[in-house]
Subunit: 581 residues, 2 copies
C-alpha cells in the first residue's frame, strides 16, 4: 500500500466499482495490479474503488506526466438533447418522437461554433490554432486532457471510454448519450507528432534533400480533368459488420468489436473502435498535409439506446472506411492494408510498430509524390490554391445550410406534423362515432368511410414520422460526411499557402543568404509538386462529390416519390369508400 | 340650429366627414336633413361632422329612446388577427402567408367562448340567456347598443354598417376587417319579438285555442326513417352572384348588392346584406322554435382585402341560402318566396309589411303543424328530446374539435411548412450553384438536376401553401355551417323541454285549478305534435348531414389525392434528371 496524488478530477460512474477523486487529493493504492489501465484505491474516507491509473501520479514518478494527455471525458454527461425536441407527452406520438429523434443536433451546434471556426479568420500560411489544438472536444470538452497513447502502448489494456457502451445507456428517457463536443468534423493535425513542423512549416519539405532512391512513389498523371492520382484497377472496398459486445475486467468494462471484411481477401478481421482511431491517427500523420482525412464519426454518434448507438456508429464507421477505401493513395498505403488484412495478432502488432515508426509523415509526404508533368508557374499555383479555398469554403457553407434546414425538417416531420395528421384522423373518427350514435338509419356507409378516412390519416401520421429515416437520413449523413471532409481543407490548404508564401519570400531569403539560389529553384519546383498533389486531390474530391451527391439525391427523391405516391394511394382507397350520391 | 344631447359614445371614422362625440356631450345640430340616419352637428370646439341620429337625443324628444338599440359597433376595430399568423418578413413567403390566411380564427375563439356557452349550463325549459341577449356581438361588441329598426322603417335609409365595405379596407397590411364578435353562430331568439313568450313559454301554444280554419298547414308524414316534413317535388335552389358596389350620400357610404337567382323563376332579384338579415329575422321569428335557423355568416366573414371580403361573404350567403332553400318548410314559406321572387319595389314593400305583421310566429308555428300519426306517449317524447339533445351536443363537440384541428393544420400548411420546403429548395439550388463554381468538368448534369430538384421543392412549397384553399377550406366551411346550425339546437330543444315540463306538471296544475282536465289532455296532444316536428326536423338534419359530410369528405379526399399525386409526379420529374452512374 502506497499513497498517490490525484492529477485530474475523475467522477465515478455509478455501479462500476469506481471511485470519485479530485485533483490534488491523496489516495492510497490498494491494488496496482487490476489491469486495463485501472488501479484500485482508497480515499481518506475509507471508500475503495477503481481509478484510471493515468489520473494519478504513482509513487516513484515512473510515469512521464508530460505524456499524460487525457482519458477523454471519462463520463460524458448523459444529456439528452432530444428532450428539447421531444413532443409533449402524448401516448401515441411519443413513440414516433423517439423513433424520429434527431441525430443532427450536434452538427447544428457545430455550424455556429466548432469547426466553422476553421474558416473564420485563417491567417495565411499557418495551421489554424483551433484545429491544431490538442483537444478535439473543443468548447464542450471536459476538463481532462486526452490520454495520449505513445507508440508501443498495449492498446488492449487501456480502454477508450468512447469505445465503451455505457451500461446505463438504456436507463430511461434522459439516457441519450451525448458524446463529446462540437469540433469532431475537423481534421486534427497534431503539431507535436512531427517535431519542428510548427516552427519550420512546409520548408521541411521545400528545402529537404532528395529522398533516397527506392522509396515508394506516389504518381500523379495528367488526366482529362487535370492532375489525377493513380487509381487502382480494382477498387478496394470493405464491409463493417457484425458488432459484438465483449467484456473485460471480469465484466466491469465492455466494448464492441466490429468485423471488417475487405473485398480483396474476403477474410474478416476484428477491430474495436480504438483501432479505427489508431488508423485515423496514422493516416492523419502520414497524409494529412496533402489529403483531407476526416475525423472518425465518434463524437457525432448519438443514440438513445445502446442498440441504436452501435448501429449508428457502425454505419458511420462504414462510411468512413468506404471513403478511405475509395482514396487511391490512402487505400494503397501499408498502414491501411495492414488494418484490413493483418493475418494474426503478431502480424498486427509488428505492423503497428512499423507504422508508428514511419518517418515519412507530415509535409514529407510530398517527397513521395511525382507529377508526370512540367513544373507550374508559382502564380498559377497560388491561383489554384485560392480557387480551391474559395470553393471549399462556399461548399462548406452550402452543406451546413442544408444540414440546418434538414435538421429543422426532421424535427417537424417527426414532431408536430404527424401529431397533426393524427389529430385530423382522430377528429374524423370521433365525428364518425358521433354520427353512429344518431339512431338514424342508413348512416353506416358514411360512418364506415369516415372512420376509414380517419384511420388513413393516422397511417399517414405514422408514415410522415418514419419517412426521415428512409430518405432525409441519407441526405443528412452524406452532407455530414462532407462537412467533416470540408472541415479538413483549411488545414490542408493552409500547408499549401504557407509553402507559397515561402516561395514568394525566395528572393529576399536569397538576398539575406538564408537560402542559396539553388534552394530557391528547388522550392519553386517542390511547391509545384505540392500544387499537383492538391489539384489531384481536388479532382478526386470533385469526382467523389459528384458521385455521392448524384447518388444521395436520387435516393432521396426516389424515396420521396414513393412516400407521396403511397399517401396518394391510401387516400384514394379512403375516398373510394364514400358513395356518390 | 338646436342643441342635442349625445346618448352614446361615437368615434368618427377618419375621412368620412364624421364627428367623434361622447355620451353626455351637448352638440349643436347644423343640418337635420342629411338623411341616411345621419345628422350634421357641431361640437363645443366648433368642429362639424356627421353623427348617427340614433346616438343623440333630439330636442322635443320625438324619438322613442327605448327603441334606440344600436347602430351596431359603427366602426369595428380594424384588427387583423392574421398578423399573429403572418410569417416573419420574407419576400417569397409573405405572399403565401396572405394567400393562405386563416379565416377560422374567429371560429376558434368561438369554441372557447361565445356560442359554446349555449351548451354549458342550459336550464331546462328556458331560452338560454346568452343567445337571447339583444346584443349579437357578444363580448367583443362595442359599447353601442344595436339600432332596432321597427316595422315599417324605411330600410333603405338607414345604412347598416356591417353591410358597408369600409373605404379603408384596402389600406395596407393592418386593414383586415374583423367584423363583430364571437357569438355569431348561435341562433338569436329575440324575446321581445313575441311579447309574453319569456313569461309563458311554450304554454302559449300548449293552451291556445284551436287555430282558425283555412290556415296554412304544415304536414308531417311517417317516412321510412320516422316522421318527415313534406318535401316538394322539385327542390328549390338559388344562386347568389354578381356582387355590385353602390354608393349613397354623395359617395360617402358604400354598400354591396348581390343578385339572387332562384331556379324556379330564373329571374334575378337584388338584395343587400341587410335584406338577408331582414329575412333571417323573419325566419327566426316564424320558425325558430321548431327549426334551427342558423345566423347569417356576417360576423365570421373576414378578409384582408375588400375583394376577398366580398367573395367570402357571398360564398357564405350562398351557403346559407342553399340551406334555407333545401328546407321544405322554410323554402315554402311566403316570406322566403317573397325574398326570392318579388316582382318590383312595390311588391317587395307590400310583402315586407305583411311579413312583419305575421302573428303566426314563435311557438305558434306548432299550431300549423299536423302530424299524420297517432299521438305520442309523453315518456317517448321526452326520450326523443333527450336523445336529440345528446346527439347535437356530441356533434357540436366533434365539429368544434375538427374546426380546431383544421385551423391548426391550415396555419401550418400556409406558414411554417411551405417556408421549410422553400428553404430545402433554396439549399439544393444554393449547393448546386456552388458546385457550378468548382471549375470541374462534367459537373453540369448534376448541377442542372439539383437546381431542378430545388425548384421542384419551391413549387411544392407553393402547392402546400395553396392547398388548404382547395380542400381544407370546404371541409372547414361545411363544419362551420354545422357549428352554426348546432348552435341553434339548445334553443330549439329548450322550447321542447319547457313544453315537456309543463305537461309533467299537468296533474298538479289541474289540482291547483290552474288548468282544466281537458287542458291537460290538449297539452299532451300538442306536445306530441311538437315532438313530431322535432323528429321531422332531426330527420331532415340527419339526411342533410349525411349528404353534406359525404360530399365534403369526398371533395377533400379527392383534392388531397390530386395534391399528393401532383407532388409525386413533380418529384418523379426531378428524379429523372439525375443520371444513373
Amino acid at each position: 500500500m502506497s499513497n498517490a496524488q490525484v492529477l485530474y478530477d475523475f467522477t465515478a460512474e455509478p455501479g462500476n466499482n469506481e471511485l470519485t477523486v479530485r485533483e490534488g487529493e491523496t489516495i492510497t493504492i490498494t491494488n496496482q495490479g487490476v489491469g486495463g489501465g485501472w488501479i484500485e484505491a482508497q480515499n481518506s474516507r475509507g471508500e475503495v474503488g477503481l481509478v484510471p491509473e493515468d489520473y494519478i501520479e504513482l509513487p516513484g514518478g515512473g510515469r512521464n506526466v508530460e505524456h499524460v494527455a487525457a482519458p477523454a471525458a471519462a463520463h460524458a454527461p448523459d444529456l439528452s438533447f432530444f428532450d428539447a425536441f421531444a413532443a409533449p407527452a402524448n401516448n401515441t406520438t411519443q413513440n414516433q418522437a423517439s423513433n424520429g429523434k434527431d441525430p443532427w443536433s450536434v452538427w447544428n451546434q457545430d455550424t455556429t461554433g466548432g469547426s466553422s471556426n476553421n474558416w473564420a479568420a485563417q491567417p495565411e500560411g499557418t495551421i489554424t490554432g483551433k484545429s491544431a489544438a490538442p483537444d478535439p472536444w473543443g468548447s464542450t470538452a471536459q476538463s481532462h486532457p486526452q490520454a495520449y497513447q505513445g507508440p508501443g502502448a498495449e492498446d488492449d489494456e487501456w480502454d477508450d471510454e468512447w469505445d465503451d457502451v455505457k451500461s446505463n445507456s438504456e436507463s430511461g428517457d434522459g439516457g441519450a448519450i451525448q458524446r463529446g463536443g462540437a469540433t469532431g468534423s475537423s481534421m486534427k493535425i497534431s503539431l507535436n507528432k512531427f517535431p519542428g513542423f510548427s516552427k519550420s512549416g512546409p520548408e521541411l519539405f521545400l528545402l529537404c534533400k532528395q529522398p533516397p532512391k527506392g522509396k515508394e512513389k506516389i504518381t500523379i498523371y495528367m488526366g482529362e480533368v487535370g492532375p489525377v492520382w493513380s487509381y487502382p484497377e480494382a477498387q478496394l472496398d470493405c464491409v463493417v459488420a457484425d458488432p459484438k459486445k465483449g467484456t473485460k475486467m471480469y465484466g466491469l468494462k465492455s466494448y464492441i468489436e466490429y468485423q471488417v471484411i475487405p473485398n480483396t481477401t474476403n477474410r474478416p478481421v476484428n477491430h474495436r473502435y480504438k483501432h479505427f482511431d489508431w488508423l485515423y491517427e496514422r493516416l492523419l500523420d502520414k497524409f494529412g498535409s496533402a489529403i483531407p482525412i476526416p475525423s472518425l464519426p465518434d463524437k457525432q454518434v448519438t443514440g438513445r439506446f445502446e442498440e441504436e448507438f452501435i448501429k449508428m456508429r457502425m454505419e458511420r464507421l462504414q462510411g468512413w472506411m468506404t471513403r478511405m477505401c475509395r482514396h487511391p493513395v490512402v487505400s494503397n498505403s501499408d498502414v491501411f492494408q495492414l488494418f484490413l488484412t493483418y493475418k494474426d495478432e503478431k502480424d498486427w502488432k509488428t505492423g503497428k510498430r512499423k507504422a508508428e515508426k514511419d518517418e515519412d509523415v507530415g509535409v514529407m509526404i510530398f517527397s513521395s509524390i511525382e507529377p508526370e508533368a512540367p513544373d507550374l508557374d508559382p502564380i498559377e499555383v497560388e491561383q489554384k490554391c485560392d480557387q480551391f479555398s474559395r470553393f471549399t469554403k462556399a461548399m462548406d457553407d452550402g452543406v451546413k445550410d442544408l444540414l440546418t434546414v434538414g435538421q429543422e425538417h426532421w424535427k417537424r416531420c417527426t414532431g408536430p406534423l404527424p401529431k397533426e395528421y393524427q389529430r385530423i384522423g382522430k377528429a374524423f373518427q370521433n365525428l364518425s362515432s358521433v354520427f353512429t350514435s344518431s339512431g338514424y338509419q342508413g348512416e353506416a356507409t358514411l360512418t364506415d368511410a369516415m372512420t376509414s378516412a380517419g384511420k388513413t390519416y393516422e397511417e399517414i401520421a405514422q408514415m410522415v414520422a418514419e419517412q426521415p429515416r428512409k430518405d432525409l437520413h441519407f441526405l443528412m449523413e452524406n452532407n455530414n460526411e462532407y462537412k467533416g471532409l470540408l472541415g479538413c481543407f483549411p488545414d490542408t490548404i493552409g500547408v499549401h499557402k504557407a509553402a507559397i508564401e515561402k516561395v514568394k519570400e525566395g528572393d529576399r531569403l536569397v538576398a539575406a543568404s538564408k537560402i542559396t539560389p539553388q534552394d530557391k529553384v528547388t522550392m519553386a519546383k517542390r511547391v509545384s509538386t505540392m500544387s499537383y498533389a492538391l489539384q489531384a486531390e481536388m479532382n478526386h474530391f470533385h469526382s467523389n462529390r459528384i458521385y455521392d451527391y448524384n447518388r444521395v439525391m436520387q435516393l432521396y427523391l426516389e424515396e420521396q416519390v414513393k412516400f407521396y405516391e403511397t399517401i396518394a394511394e391510401k387516400l384514394k382507397q379512403a375516398h373510394s369508400q364514400f358513395t356518390t350520391m
